[in-house]
């Protein structure tokens, strides 16, 4: 009888990379959510400010740009 063997996990990263080296699918959304959450915590946005920051995003921003927008939102209130 053939013995079943466990296959060693692949060393390849589980996250799929897109054409620009960014994550795709669920991983991309998670990465995106995580950057915004980090900005929210780093600059201490409240609920209203958090939602306003969401309005201002358009996908062209990286962490620093999102942080700048967050500071702009915070300064408005």
């Amino acid at each position: 009888m053939k013995k079943l063997r466990c296959v060693a996990p692949s060393k390849e990263p589980r996250r799929k990379e897109g054409k620009h080296g960014q994550f795709r699918g669920r991983d991309a959304k998670r990465a995106n959510d995580s950057v915004v959450n980090r900005v929210v915590k780093d600059i201490g946005l409240n609920k209203k400010e958090r939602r306003r920051l969401h309005d201002m995003l358009d996908g062209s921003q990286d962490y620093d740009e999102i942080k700048r927008l967050g500071q702009l939102v915070k300064g408005r209130n």
Partner: protein, 171 residues
Amino acid sequence: MIFMSNLKGDLKNEIQKLIGKECWAVIAGKGRGSNVDLRIGEKLPMKEPINNLSISEDARKYDSEYALFILCTWRIDNDEKVVCGSWDYNLENGKMLKGLNLLIGNKILDSYLTEPALDLTLRFSSNINIKIFCDQTNEKDDYDNYDLFTPTEIITVGSQSILKSEPREFD
């Protein structure tokens, strides 16, 4: 921020008040990951419009009487099939926005809040449902599940579905 045992009652009452109200804008898509803001009820002019051409003119000019800001996993179904969910392609003309746009112009017909997690389903006219699954349970991350913005307060279903509230201020 207020932590109160009767917050669950407040949340239930406010969700009931959504019935009959129209969703007139959905803000989601590129750069916003899986997060979605549903604008519901009366349109309230903002003092300073939002300078972002990636959202509709109404959404730039008006805030809403109620808003549901979803930060956890969600899915849209109609009576026959699954339409889209939080992990779908979120660029323009992608599955996520096409599905979410089906909510616009529809009224909320019914709501279902499931305890203890406070998962929420809103049923809209045209037989479409948005189902919100409170999957933010990690204490260390401390990410919220969803915020319900009412005319007077913001009720947050936080990590592990713990409720919080703070007063809502308009611009």
